[in-house]
Subunit: 119 residues, 2 copies
């Protein structure tokens, strides 16, 4: 189990954020333009952990320096699945963090819930 | 390079379809309900290979029996990235094939282009 997964599973967002390189590039499932920097990602992670219900990692692909953590979750009535892609530098810090989600209605439900929470 | 990737890169959809178990479960990036069976997936693959422009695999995670093939593509003006998740049985046949795409506008553009092509 990747340490990022372990941190999220124990709902320790601070521990998860600490694994990110300070200049991490975060690509969200919703918008094209990446977010840059650990401090840009922190509020997003803190919001998403509140928005996702019944969150559970289901599969983990380990292919260093890349890791893919497949999950399922629910936003209101919408069931969705997704994947956290982590790319690490030689020191094990996460320099790229990309999230993809399916299906379309699941992303739309997440985008709306995040908009309400972050506005 | 996974043989599915090699088949798609050479635009040989028949070779890609031949790697699927006849009872493959296909989860699309757009709709929640899975498609079942090789013959349900074939027309979708043939359409999507026409719809995606500048398609290119960029990363491959190998963690048997799971593989994740990360790609980028364009649908009209919309740049997107996505991932083909392949889960194999002990004989190497693909029993689960899941596709995720980001960002939201990229999935919407794909869904609209596929709707036009398949209708």
């Amino acid at each position: 189990v990747h340490s990022f997964r372990a941190a999220i599973e124990s709902r320790d967002v601070d521990a998860a954020v600490a694994l990110l390189h300070e200049d991490v590039v975060f690509r969200s499932p919703v918008v094209y333009t990446p977010y840059r920097g650990r401090f840009a990602v922190e509020p997003i992670l803190k919001a998403v952990i509140q928005v996702f219900e019944d969150f559970e990692y289901t599969r983990e692909l380990t292919s260093p320096p890349d890791h893919a953590l497949v999950f399922r979750a629910r936003v209101g009535d919408m069931h969705l699945e997704g994947c956290d892609f982590l790319h690490e530098d030689p020191d094990g810090r996460i320099t790229e963090f990309t999230v993809m989600i399916r299906p379309l209605k699941g992303i739309q439900a997440l985008a709306e819930a995040m908009r309400q929470r972050l506005s």
